[in-house]
């Protein structure tokens, strides 16, 4: 009846970012850059002992070495890969579950909506980290399992926002107008509601990614993310903590700094995107 091509092209909405947003883009790009070009940027294998332990930053090891003599710089760079993969994977899963469920629940309403909303609200109200811990503990370590554990925690975030937006769009006059010209439910969902939900999905995505980063870091801090030798910022931070009293500051400063750069970067982008869409809404 109609082609999906133009919709797919419009999936990523045009957004004008503020200065703050561009600073965020810079920070995130930096981390993504490390993740992509990790092999070119690191002289050592991040999982091997390559020098004496507890070496402060020096020429051979710009960020020092840890207890067993692994190069911290290499671990930081490869750690970017771990966290980026987990974040992307879990966000994709959350969206794939949360967005369609939210759309359908909001549009169909009734008992289905009541039940779905109640479950989602319950998950949402729950402390996200505790839920993620419970699930990660039940699933066991590994990149996929960690991604699934985090994803389930963030499904309600997408669900709630998409459902709320769908409910309000459903009441919009242009949806009634679509019914008046004889559009069926599928057409209304795909052509009239979904395109108008995209902006809220973008906002939720950019705002919640920072949360996902922090949750991944926390899980790996608890040793519930990827198994041991894999470079992972949260894990390294935890591993360095006992030596804080000895003054080995480099063990904790750099992994934590990286987590912060990624999380703050995403938050800046999120703020900027949210502001842009708010301004758009006021204008139309």
């Amino acid at each position: 009846m109609y082609t999906f091509r133009p919709i797919l092209m419009k999936l990523v909405p045009k957004v004008k970012l503020s200065t703050l947003g561009w600073v965020g883009v810079g920070m995130v790009t930096f981390v993504v850059f490390l993740a992509i070009f990790a092999p070119l940027l690191t002289p050592y294998d991040p999982t091997r002992t390559v020098g004496p332990g507890f070496q402060p930053p020096c020429w051979e090891h710009p960020l020092g070495t840890n207890k067993i003599g692994q190069d911290m710089w290499s671990r930081i760079v490869y750690g970017a890969r771990t966290i980026i993969i987990v974040v992307l994977l879990s966000t994709a899963i959350s969206m794939l579950i949360g967005v369609p469920l939210g759309l359908i629940s909001g549009y169909v309403g009734g008992l289905l909506d009541r039940i779905l909303s109640m479950i989602m609200d319950a998950i949402y109200a729950f402390p996200s980290l505790i839920l993620a811990i419970a699930m990660a503990a039940a699933l066991g370590p590994g990149i996929i399992n960690t991604a699934i554990a985090i994803a389930i925690v963030y499904v309600p975030t997408y669900f709630r926002m998409v459902r709320g937006q769908t409910l309000s769009i459903k009441e919009q006059l242009y949806v009634e107008a679509a019914r008046a010209i004889g559009a069926n439910h599928m057409t209304i969902l795909v052509r009239y509601i979904f395109p108008n939900v995209i902006s809220i999905i973008t906002v939720v995505f950019t705002l919640s990614v920072a949360d996902v980063v922090l949750t991944e870091a926390a899980l790996s801090f608890f040793g519930l993310s990827v198994p041991a030798p894999t470079p992972d910022w949260g894990f390294d931070l935890k591993a360095g903590h006992p030596y804080l009293l000895s003054g080995y500051w480099w063990l904790i400063t750099f992994p934590g700094l990286m987590i912060m750069i990624l999380a703050v970067g995403f938050t800046f982008i999120g703020e900027s995107v949210a502001e842009y869409f708010q301004a758009m809404e006021v204008r139309t």
Partner: protein, 327 residues
């Protein structure tokens, strides 16, 4: 005259929306009696104005007619066919014959669909045209509603248009299916004052061209007088007076119609205004007054009005009124 639409004792009661908690504890169900027993006949080719204050049920009645909402009771006869219970595919086919234009042109267009697409969409949905033929029809329709040159508007999104232009798009979307009946719900009340007249004239012109029948819903009696052949005045979900435009305006019978007519500001009055004053405000449609719904505010109400509900009856030729005291 040829009848196009007949409403038989139409009712629409909306259940009062309550939260889950309140429903748990509520003793009885409450209803907003938005439309409460309306019977009306519309003749082919005429413009019937449905007038009344906000909350009188005129907008609900408009949506009932085009079957956007389902009546609680009563029948709707369109072109001699009972359409009250049409569902699914049959209902969608009916949409080709009757269309609606909404009040708010800022909300009635999909913000994420270009203008050309919005006008083309009804044709696509009903599989009436495609390809270059579709494009030609859309272009021609845009031109007919005064969006010229149409190429300039085809790929533009609604947010780039003014209120007046958007309403023209909404009109184009309604007439592109060549419907027989168009319900226009306050189509000019949100348009800039200086542009209202042009939209009204556009609608009159299109009526000629496509042989349309209009049900024109408005709170503005001056607009109603300008556009309508017949007038039906609503109060609290009921029609209190209806008849040919000239008769209703020159010789209003119901005290409510009189009050309405004398309350409108007139820029260059021909006669001294003799205002009919009303007490109080429109009562809550959840619990409309017993007897005549207008009696608590009526300057001439008597004992019978408190007890009995007046029926619409023919007071003079083709001029109907629901009041005990009109002879």
């Amino acid at each position: 005259m040829d009848e196009i639409l007949r409403l038989i004792n139409i009712r629409k009661w909306f259940p009062v929306q309550k939260s889950f908690l309140e429903r748990l504890l509520a003793k009885e169900k409450l209803f907003v009696k938005a439309v409460d027993g309306v019977s009306l006949t519309v003749w082919r080719g005429e413009t019937l104005a449905l007038v009344g204050e906000s909350g009188c049920g005129k907008t609900t009645l408009g949506r009932l007619i085009v079957r956007l909402i389902d009546p609680t009771s009563g029948r709707i006869i369109f072109n001699g066919m009972d359409i009250t219970d049409l569902r699914g595919e049959e209902l969608r086919r009916l949409r080709r014959k009757m269309q609606i234009i909404f009040q708010d042109p800022y909300a009635s267009l999909n913000p994420r669909m270009p203008i050309g697409e919005q006008v083309a969409h009804p044709l696509k949905i009903h599989g009436l045209a495609q390809g270059s033929e579709l494009r030609d029809i859309v272009m021609k329709t845009l031109e007919q509603v005064g969006l010229t040159p149409p190429e300039k508007f085809y790929n533009v999104y609604p947010r780039a248009l003014s209120g007046g232009q958007r309403q023209r798009v909404a009109i184009a979307r309604a007439i592109v299916l060549k419907p027989e009946l168009v319900v226009a719900d306050e189509p000019v009340s949100m348009i800039d004052v200086s542009l209202r007249a042009s939209i009204l004239d556009l609608m009159l012109m299109l009526k000629q061209e496509f042989n349309l029948t209009y049900i024109f819903i408005t709170h503005d009696l001056a607009v109603a007088r300008y556009i309508a052949d017949r007038i039906a005045v609503m109060y609290l979900g009921k029609i209190v007076e209806h008849g040919p435009s000239e008769l209703v305006f020159e010789n209003p019978l119901h005290p409510y119609t009189k009050a309405l007519l004398t309350s409108i500001p007139v820029p260059r009055p021909l006669k001294e205004p003799k205002r009919v004053e009303l007490k109080g405000e429109v009562p809550n449609p959840i619990n409309p007054p017993l007897g005549c719904r207008f009696h608590p505010r009526c300057p001439i109400a008597g004992e019978i009005c408190r007890r009995e509900e007046p029926e619409l009856r023919e007071a003079e030729n083709d001029h109907y009124v629901a009041c005990f005291y009109v002879t």
